[in-house]
Amino acid sequence: MKPLFQTNIRTALTAFLLILAPALVANGQDSRIQMAGLDHLAAKASQTVDVNLDERLMRIAAKVLSDKDEDERDVKKLIAGLKGIYVKSFEFDTEGQYAAADVETIRTQLRAPGWSRLVNVTSRKQGMLEVYLLFNGEQVGGLAVLHTDDKELTVVNIVGPVDLDKLAKLEGQLGVPELGIESPKNKTKNDDEK
């Protein structure tokens, strides 16, 4: 017969794990990238863009987005299922203001299971551009864009199911030209047509 103390400890541990397991699983699937490690670069940067929009703020923002305006309506649709948008962008006057370790803190997180690098563009003029997607099964659970240049470091992180169709619809509407983004589904369709 096992001692009573041992049985109780086992029961308590099982109960504790059962309670914590869902929270741990939920946390593990979060596509949020921690960017706080880059904050020290703001002091060196000539221009800094720091956007931290969580679900609550996006809900608030959605309230003031007009349904009459087509652009705002599209933005509203895009952010409907999102849990957060986070941007950190630093522009420097001179080269070598950030270290490779700074970029590595982001890249390490993007090597976690679920994330896959969709695009990796390296050019002499515009540095390195990487686009990552987090897949939860077949669904996109998050998007990350990492742009590193001699005088620039930008990280974009969209948390939640990003609808690439809706994002593509925003092209040219926010002061940037057409992007030509296609969702994987549409792309295959177009390929089939060809």
Binding site: N8, V49, V51, V156
Partner: protein, 167 residues
């Protein structure tokens, strides 16, 4: 006299010993099931230890979860306005707090004060919403700009151009 009878029951027994055996033999152990009387009441003592252990672990989990959530919300405190540091100076957009307003111009009636507070808080909420919207548009602008850059770099026309340069 032989003492073997006392040790292993062999040999000639002593009559006195035999007599003693007969007297004490009535008290010999006789196998029979334990009979518990029906009227016997045993006080039931419940073991609350497992329940207490579970309750303690649940409490511990709640406390730990609370501390974790608090720490997380503090570290990820949402910034109301996008921080864009540029050479051009920005106009001061510090919201006028309702407390300041009432201190400058105290209302005579409580109902008026409440209404004013309500409208002031809705104004603050509206301002927060507008700031969040600005932040959202800025974030989407940066995102689309970067994606546009990716697109131009990966477009076939750009690749052909690069091939010509190499050629």
């Amino acid at each position: 006299m032989n003492d073997d009878y006392l040790w292993d029951k062999t040999g000639q027994p002593d009559p006195q010993i035999q007599q003693l055996e007969e007297i004490l033999g009535t008290l010999r152990y006789q196998p029979k099931p334990l009979a518990i009387p029906d009227d016997l009441r045993v006080p039931q003592r419940r073991n609350y230890l497992p329940l207490l252990a579970i309750a303690a672990s649940v409490l511990l989990a709640i406390v730990a979860g609370g501390i974790w959530l608090r720490g997380r919300s503090r570290s990820e405190a949402p910034k109301i306005q996008a921080k864009v540091e540029s050479p051009t100076p920005k106009p001061d957009v510090t919201p006028v707090l309702p407390e300041k307003k009432s201190a400058v111009n105290p209302p005579p009636v409580v109902a008026h004060n409440r209404r004013r507070n309500r409208s002031a808080s809705s104004a603050v909420e509206n301002k927060e919403a507008l700031m969040a919207k600005e932040q959202l548009m800025l974030a989407l602008r940066v995102t689309t700009q970067k994606l546009h850059l990716v697109h131009t770099k990966t477009s076939p026309a750009n690749q052909i151009k690069n091939q010509h340069r190499v050629g």
